[in-house]
Amino acid sequence: MKAKEYKSGIKPIWCPGCGHFAVLNAITKAFAALEQAPENAVLVSGIGCSSRLPAYINSYGFHGVHGRALPVAAGLKVARPDLNVIAMGGDGDGFSIGGNHFLHACRRNVNIVYVVMDNEVYGMTKGQASPTTPENWEHSKLTPHGPEVRPFQPCAIALAAGASFIARGYSGDPNGLARILFEAVEHPGFAFVHVLSQCPTFCPEQVQWKQSVHLEDVSTNDPVQAAAFLHADDGLAKGIFYQNPRPIWPVEHHTTQPVNLRKGFEI
């Protein structure tokens, strides 16, 4: 199938210039490259602008509640290992309300992809600071002095929590992002793809990303090297940073069959 055939035909609700359009295109390109059967892919999301994406793709989708895309995706993948399960959402959904699930998804290492479209703002609720908003960003009525809280470091935290694939893409480079998504799907285990996806409505300053984003295909399998890189990272590097496959969950145990479930109750 061609990339455009992976679109469902439903018109996105996003603002003009939104980075998520490019992410949508990158997913369709990756699917085309993967020769993905549409019926065997499931896109699972939470709540927010970016979480509307599954409906725009010609595959199965699940648009759940705020912050819980990862558990829905993990439950689905464990139950149906035959499916290609991709969880997705925004920075508020994934790192704030869903932060606990992010940590445990990284360490559990279920074989799914998690794409976070990070625009450093809550767009759907009209422009509040998110966990990745700069400390001094004073454009929200909710935090008039700026959040005054250090931004969350998604890739470094993913590494510390045990993610076995860590990459960053940029919505201004959909072909590069498509390549990363391709690799993420191919990676056995939990693959975290952080995407800088600009919000022209609430953070027009992100237009500067175009000049600042730089390619750093570190692609190491050494966690110490990856940690050193990520701690020095300015947040605008793109590329595959870390790739170190380890046993995926669930571990398949050989069980004796068939078993009489009732035997244990007999006296």
Partner: protein, 618 residues
Amino acid sequence: MSSLTLAMVGSGGTGVVALGEMLLWAAAKQGLYGMLRKTFGPQIRGGESAAIVRLGSEVVANLGSDLELLMVLDWNNFQRFADEIPLTENTVLIQDLQAGERPPNLPEPRQTLTLDFLGLAKSLGSNHSNIVLLAYVASWLGCQPEVIEAAVRHRLKAHEQATVELAVAVASLGLKLSHDQTIPLQAPLQAPLQAVTPSSAKTLNSEKLWLANGNQLIGLGALEAGIRFVAAYPITPASDVLEWIAGQIETVGGHLVQAEDELAAVNMAIGAGFGGVPAMTATSGPGLALMTEAMGLAVASETPLVVVDVMRGGPSTGIPTKSEQSDFNLAVYGLHGDAPHVVLSALSVADCHFTAGWATQIASERQTLVILLSDQFLGQSSQIMPPLAKTDFSAHINEAHINQAQMADESPDGPQQSRYFRYLDTDSGISPLALPGQPGGMFTADGLEHNAAAIPSPKAGDHQQQLAKRLRKLDSLVDTDHWAELQGQGAILLICWGSLYQVSLEAQAQLRKKGIEIAVMGVRLLSPLPLQKIQQAMQQAEKTLVIEQNQQGQFAHYLRSFDLQNVNAEPFSVKHLDFKHLDFKQYCRSGPTLFTPVEIVAQVEALIFESKNDEGPQ
């Protein structure tokens, strides 16, 4: 039925819970029936604990009202259980010589026997006074020495040989003691029990009795009906539902995931259910509260989901180790928005198996949320029972035949792009479900309101259509025979739900001995409530009494919230309704003390007395 209730109390390390378990096991081996309730303080290990065992000649499904025998190895902390162990002047007390001072303000027991259980154990270099006491009491009951020894060996099977042999030797001292010092209880209690010892119990040869608690039986019912994915987060008293399943589910090709919290657990189950794998989670009150948002998602996205709530004392952390029926409101009303779903209650330890199977089937066939209410008493009380029959319940899904569901002409994207209508507005309200992997069925399940084609829509017409559809698909549930258990007929109708049903049946039997016939209704289908059937039963009685174990009368308020006078109850027509009959009295009180048959009998008698006074002046 003849029965005998024994309680065992001790502080940490005296092993009274093990004593109760061994006693129940030995009784089962002898062909007796019985039930064991364990009760603990909040300590993780040690601390005070107690076990109550009721043995009977027939199936014992509640703990009864009276305590015939109280066995105390240590009086320390007894007061913490005083509410739960109804010591009366009819109780015979057996205490260890070194049990310490009996607390003041307790009723004087009918007779007290002070024996040196610990001294006997120590004479062999053991501390297991509980095993001396086990052998002593079991022998008096009529258990054969080899059965008692087998109970000890069964209990200690994971231990070293020397430990086991020492325990067996300790038990023999208890056996000897029973010959020297008999328990001063009257023969009427002993005879029926001894009459069903193995020589006379034919059932033993044909089929083995079961020993199970309600939590395990929920697991069995769920797995037998087809649950193949369980997400778990530990919480008392629901953990052993999950632990039992964890030990079994891989053997039937399923998976259990320990989640990071209840929010994850319920969403994982929803993910699996979306994938077409019947899924469940189990929790208790605080966990159920955390799950309510996602339960709304299951309703809106029409994803099959079973959530088991093993209720404990609440609110907040409440009394985690003890029973209450106080999550009714949360289960029935706790969801945000208009979210029709199913709430079931298990009516006995054995019924946990049946109702879990039914819950699994309803969730799959109706593509919605089913909450199954059990409670700590049902969940953690072990009961001896005849083997349970397999049910016919199965997790059958109404799968989409995509060609029929494709409706090109009505596609909102225009005629050129045909689309599967996931949320098709059918007569039954149940829409054909495509599962991931099925070509042509692609759709995005959505918690956002959507139209029949699964496209997000805020339109009033779509909202009304989808709300009505999700409500309508539950309508026919009230026609099922499984909605309640109804026993007997009489001037009084006693309505209850959950674990109170078995206690009510015993109250009914006690009233019958007094010449009073009552009808007892145990409601299994709490929502949607079969109003016509309830109305019909109320019409056939003079008075109705609703009982439940929560302070606010949550179910009673719910029942009152329906305009029963205007429910058209076939075969009665409205003009023949006697409105007087549609009112009811309620008797509701909090846990954690269990309802007793005597307590219910007193309430029924009070209602009868009141009725007679009402009629008096006419």
